[in-house]
Subunit: 140 residues, 4 copies
């Protein structure tokens, strides 16, 4: 699968299309079939007990998959999530969270991938894992 | 399954334990095996195209299930989501979204339920559906 | 959503298209938006401990959703499952298992529904719950 | 995570505990955090169109995860699947199917992992992907 957008282009796209949330996410890497996005989880992302909330992790997984698809098909803002199955495995403390996404299938209508969330250096102890399906809008 | 917290008590609990987000959610109903939570989706909940974002719908489903469990086991802030599988079926416009949760199993360690998200009057055209599992902390 | 196949027609379709497994499943009901399929779980469906196996429950949920879709779109053998998220909640003993399926969305390309599995009379204590997505083949 | 059962021991365990289905599955590899199981899909595993059925793929993913857990905790027949989310991405033709499982979390009560299903040599074009959770029985 070809790569048609760089990490910088993805970051710029996010800033234009998702101005409310773009500042939270940093595109760390966007290579062949692998995209890495970073979140700095602060006070507003926590839940009782002081760990990062589920909706925050969902949002990070969702944006990582979205950008991994756009990296391969170009800037189509209207690609939408149709399904997500997420396992929360460990409670992440505040701080840096990384999402690593791989695209497993890129069809004309549907894209399927999975995402691992982990703290820096903790790829072998992921905090969450998600499988996601996106619907790709037809050519306009 | 007994009901040990009313809608008012759940609302008050949310305000104390989740002060960052509690104002977004209104507990509409908390009866036997059925809990309804309302969100008024505004500008900050939208994504490109002007429809309610996936993370917003996830957060609404998550809080509805959380409160449905607490309604039956009492105020344990540390119950945590371990799994969520969500289908996004229709794009919801801004405005009111209702989440209706039913608890299907309430074990000692795990609770399983599902949630339908719909606009007022649109129970037959749900915008999303989620299956969720929560881990219940042991008695302390 | 209109109903275009009856329970009898679904049963006959299954016998022709899925001869290896059709004898296991009985279409109990196929009404508006609700389809019920029965399995008599015998020795070959059990796992260690003497309870019905996960693959057996998956197969029952899968066929129930398949038939619920065909009831509304007619006999298209090539509709295929693209996603299933299933929660196994209680261990079912050998004997009768019922799957009740409701179709939540019937689009041109994708159909989404959910299925509850329970023993006769045990709808309030389901043994499993599944969310399923099927891809519908284009008109040929 | 330590490895306490070899591929040969897993195969022997399967033959004793799951005599109905054990002959279908071959344990190819059981190393640190990675278990590979093979299925030869024949006539009885097919669905209309001549491709491998969903329940067959589910069963293969399920047994791969089960054996991956036992490889690390020893022969506990009563570990049970509590959740599975599976994406069917490509239609596999009859013949060899491989399931590669990695265990992502092994807690005292729950184990979480994921499984990729692919034809030999086709790891970059998986036919299915599953996330699975097993409940581990307490020490007896």
């Amino acid at each position: 699968m070809a790569q048609v957008m760089t990490a910088e282009e993805l970051q710029a796209f996010l800033a234009v299309e998702f101005p409310q949330v773009a500042h939270q996410f940093t595109v760390v890497e966007a290579g062949e079939g692998r995209t890495v996005v970073r979140l700095e989880a602060g006070e507003e992302h926590l839940r009782p007990g002081g760990t990062v909330s589920g909706p925050t992790m969902f949002a990070l997984a969702d944006v990582a998959m979205y950008l991994a698809i756009l990296a391969q098909i170009g800037p189509k803002a209207l690609a939408v999530t149709t399904n997500c199955a997420i396992d929360f495995m460990r409670k992440p403390p505040p701080g840096t969270l990384l999402a690593t996404c791989r695209v497993l299938k890129l069809g004309r209508q549907l894209a399927v991938g999975d995402v691992l969330l982990h703290a820096p250096g903790g790829e072998d102890r992921p905090v969450a894992r998600a499988g996601m399906t996106y619907s790709i809008p037809p050519e306009g």
